[in-house]
C-alpha cells in the first residue's frame, strides 16, 4: 500500500529516482542497524549446543537478517511494478530496476554483515587496551564527548558501509548518463559481487568471528551504561505529559530504550536525512511518502520494547493489564510527535512542502501505526502463556 501510495502514479523516470533515493537512505540505515539486529545474539546458547559452524552459521545469520528485511524486497517490487496508469509499459526497465534495488540491497547487507561480524577482536582491543584508555581520556579532555573506544570500529564500519552504498548509487546514475538506463545495474552488481566475495572468504572460519563479536557486543551493551554514566537518570515526575496511571510504565520503557539505543540521536539523523533529500527538491508525492516511511520507522522503538530482555511477559502481566500496556506504548511514542510536526512545518516554511493536508496524512499514519504496533504488543503478551 505504501509503495502504491508512494509511486503508484509515477512515470518510469520518477520511479527510477524514487528507487535511488530510497537506496540512498537505506545505505545509512543498513550501516547503522546491522549490529543492533545481529548482536548480542539471544540464540548463542543453541548455536553452541548445536556447534553450528561454517556455512551453517552464515546461513543462520543471513536468515536472521532476512526475517527483518523481507518486507523491503516486497516494497522494491511494488515500487517497480506498482504502476496505476501504465501497468504494462516499460516492463523490462521496471524489472531491471527491481533487480537493481534487490541486488544492491542484498549486496550491501552482505558487506555490512561481514564487516560487523569481523569487528569483534578490534573492538575488544580498543575497549580493553591501554591505547583505548588513552583515546577515551583524550576524547573526554579535548572534545568533551563520552565516546567509548570500543565503538570506534563500529563507527568506522558505519561510515564505510554508508559511503560504499551512496557512492554506488551515484556511480549507477553516472553509468545511466553515459551508457543508458540498463547499465545502472552494473553498480548494484558490483556491490553484490563485493558482498559475495567478502562473505565467501568468511565461510572458512566464521565461528571465531561470531563468538568474539557476540561476546564483545554482549559485554559492550551490558556494561556500557553501568552506573548511568551516559544516560542520566530520568525522574518519573519529568514525564508530566503522560497520564498518571501509565506514567511509571512509560518511564521504565523510556529509561530502557534510551539506554539500549541513543533513540533521540537516531531520530535526529532521520530528520537530517529527510532534510537532505528535501534539499534536492524532489516531487511532493515522493516527499510525502518519505515522511510517511519515516513516521512508520518510529514504531521500531515499540518493536524493541517487545523484546523479552526488555519486557518479560510474566513481569508485564504482573504489573499491568493488556489495556494498560497498549496505552503505555502508544503514549511513549507521542514524544516523537512534536519534533515530527516541528520538522514538517519548518520544511513547509523553507521548501513549501509538505502541505497541511499531507502533514495531516503523515500524522495519521504515525498515530495509526503507533496504535497497531502497541496492539501487537498486547497480542504478544496474551500469546506468551506456556
Amino acid at each position: 500500500m505504501l509503495g502504491l501510495l508512494w509511486a503508484g502514479s509515477h512515470s518510469i523516470d520518477e520511479r527510477v529516482v524514487t528507487i535511488r533515493y530510497l537506496l540512498f537512505a537505506l545505505s545509512g540505515f543498513i550501516a547503522f542497524a546491522t549490529p543492533y539486529m545481529l548482536f548480542p545474539d539471544s540464540n548463542v546458547s543453541s548455536i553452541q549446543l548445536g556447534n553450528i559452524s561454517g556455512a551453517g552459521l552464515i546461513a543462520y545469520l543471513l536468515g536472521k537478517m532476512a526475517d527483518y528485511y523481507w518486507p523491503m524486497l516486497v516494497l522494491f517490487l511494488i515500487l517497480a511494478f506498482g504502476d496505476i496508469h501504465t501497468p504494462f509499459e516499460n516492463l523490462v526497465t521496471k524489472g531491471l530496476y527491481m533487480i537493481f534495488a534487490a541486488t544492491f540491497f542484498i549486496g550491501l547487507n552482505l558487506i555490512s554483515i561481514t564487516r560487523y561480524l569481523k569487528s569483534g577482536p578490534d573492538s575488544q582491543f580498543w575497549q580493553e587496551s591501554e591505547k583505548g584508555r588513552d583515546m577515551r581520556r583524550k576524547l573526554a579532555d579535548y572534545f568533551k564527548y563520552p565516546l567509548d573506544p570500543g565503538s570506534i570500529p563500529s563507527l568506522i564500519n558505519t561510515l564505510i558501509i554508508t559511503a560504499a552504498g551512496m557512492i554506488a548509487i551515484v556511480a549507477g546514475s553516472i553509468f545511466y548518463g553515459w551508457l543508458g538506463s540498463h547499465y545502472e545495474i552494473i553498480a548494484a552488481l558490483l556491490i553484490l559481487l563485493a558482498g559475495w566475495v567478502m562473505i565467501h572468504k568468511l565461510k572458512k572460519n566464521p565461528e571465531k568471528n561470531y563468538y568474539s563479536t557476540n561476546a564483545f557486543f554482549r559485554e559492550f551493551f551490558g556494561s556500557d551504561l553501568q552506573g548511568d554514566s551516559v544516560v542520566e537518570r530520568r525522574k518519573v515526575e519529568q514525564l508530566w505529559w503522560v497520564p498518571v496511571p501509565i506514567r511509571a510504565n512509560v518511564w521504565q520503557f523510556m529509561q530502557q530504550l534510551d539506554r539500549k539505543i541513543p533513540a533521540g540521536r537516531v531520530v535526529a539523523v532521520g530528520h537530517f536525512l529527510i532534510w537532505f533529500i528535501a534539499y534536492q527538491r524532489p516531487e511532493q508525492e515522493f516527499m510525502t511518502a518519505l515522511w510517511i516511511l519515516f513516521a512508520l520507522a518510529h514504531q521500531l522503538f515499540v518493536m524493541l520494547s517487545m523484546q523479552n530482555s526488555m519486557a518479560p511477559g510474566w513481569l508485564l502481566r504482573w504489573v499491568g493489564s493488556g489495556t494498560n500496556w497498549f496505552f503505555t506504548r502508544f503514549w511513549m511514542q507521542l514524544r516523537w510527535l512534536v519534533p515530527l510536526l516541528l520538522s514538517m512545518n519548518m520544511q513547509l516554511f523553507v521548501f513549501g512542502i509538505p502541505g497541511f493536508r499531507e502533514q495531516f496524512l503523515i500524522t495519521l499514519f504515525f498515530l495509526i501505526s503507533a496504535m497497531i504496533t502497541s496492539a501487537i504488543g498486547v497480542v504478544q503478551l496474551k500469546r506468551d502463556f506456556k
Binding site: G222, Q252, Q255, V319, G320, F385
Partner: protein, 207 residues
C-alpha cells in the same frame, strides 16, 4: 483465601500433568510444593500466578476466579517467577520504583524501604543495570520486588535457587515474617532443612 477446584492441566490431549486437584489455602499459611524435575510444580505455580491457564477447573481468590479477573487478583500477589528474565536496562532500584508506582504504593518513604530491602539481601549493585547481574543477583531483585509490595499472597518458584547460604537465611526470615503478617505463601523448594521449619502443608508432585 485461595481455593482450587478440580484443577486439570494438560499440554497435550491425553497427557495430563495433574487431574482434578482440589484444595484450599488460608491466610497466614506457608505451603511447600515439592517433587522431582518435570513433575508439574512450576506448571502448578504458573497457573496460580495466572501465567498459564488450566485445561479444566478454577482457582478462586476470595471468591473471584483468578483467570477471569487476572488484573484484580495480581494486585494482591507478589511473584518470584521460574524465569530469571528481568528488564535488563533498568537498575534493581528503578525496577522496584516502577512496580511500586504502577501499584500506586509509592510514598515518601519508598526510596528508604527499597534501600532497606536491598541492604537485607546484600545487593550492593542495586544501582547498576540488571543486564550485568549474576543469577543470584537477579533472584535477589525478584525477591525484593515480590516482598516490597507486602502482598496478600506470595507465589515463589524456587526462590532460594542460586542464593548463597547467608542470603538463604535472610530470605527464610523474610518468609517467616510474612507468615506472621498473615500472608499466604506458596513456594517450591528443594531445601529439606528449610522445609520442616516453615511449611504448614506440603504438596508433593506428581499429584
Amino acid at each position: 483465601m485461595l481455593e482450587i477446584k478440580n484443577l486439570t492441566k494438560q499440554y497435550k490431549p491425553g497427557k495430563p500433568i495433574f487431574t482434578d486437584y482440589t484444595n484450599r489455602f488460608d491466610a497466614g499459611k506457608c505451603i511447600g510444593v515439592f517433587g522431582p524435575n518435570g513433575s508439574g510444580k512450576t506448571t502448578f505455580l504458573r497457573i496460580l500466578s495466572v501465567n498459564s491457564y488450566p485445561t479444566n477447573g478454577t482457582v478462586l481468590f476470595e471468591g473471584i476466579d483468578v483467570h477471569e479477573n487476572p488484573g484484580k487478583f495480581l494486585e494482591s500477589v507478589g511473584l518470584v517467577h521460574d524465569e530469571e528474565t528481568l528488564p535488563q536496562h533498568l537498575t534493581a532500584v528503578e525496577m522496584l520504583e516502577w512496580i511500586l508506582r504502577s501499584r500506586k504504593l509509592w510514598s515518601d518513604s519508598s526510596a528508604d524501604e527499597i534501600d532497606n530491602i536491598f541492604d537485607n539481601l546484600a545487593l550492593a549493585e542495586r544501582n547498576e543495570q540488571i543486564g550485568t547481574y549474576s543469577t543470584g543477583m537477579k533472584k535477589k531483585t525478584q525477591i525484593a520486588a515480590a516482598f516490597i509490595l507486602k502482598p496478600k499472597i506470595l507465589i515463589m518458584d524456587e526462590p532460594l535457587r542460586g542464593l548463597d547460604q547467608a542470603t538463604r537465611k535472610v530470605v527464610s526470615e523474610m518468609i517467616a515474617r510474612a507468615k506472621k503478617e498473615n500472608r499466604l505463601i506458596l513456594m517450591s523448594s528443594h531445601s529439606i532443612e528449610f522445609s520442616s521449619e516453615l511449611f504448614d502443608e506440603m504438596i508433593e508432585f506428581p499429584l
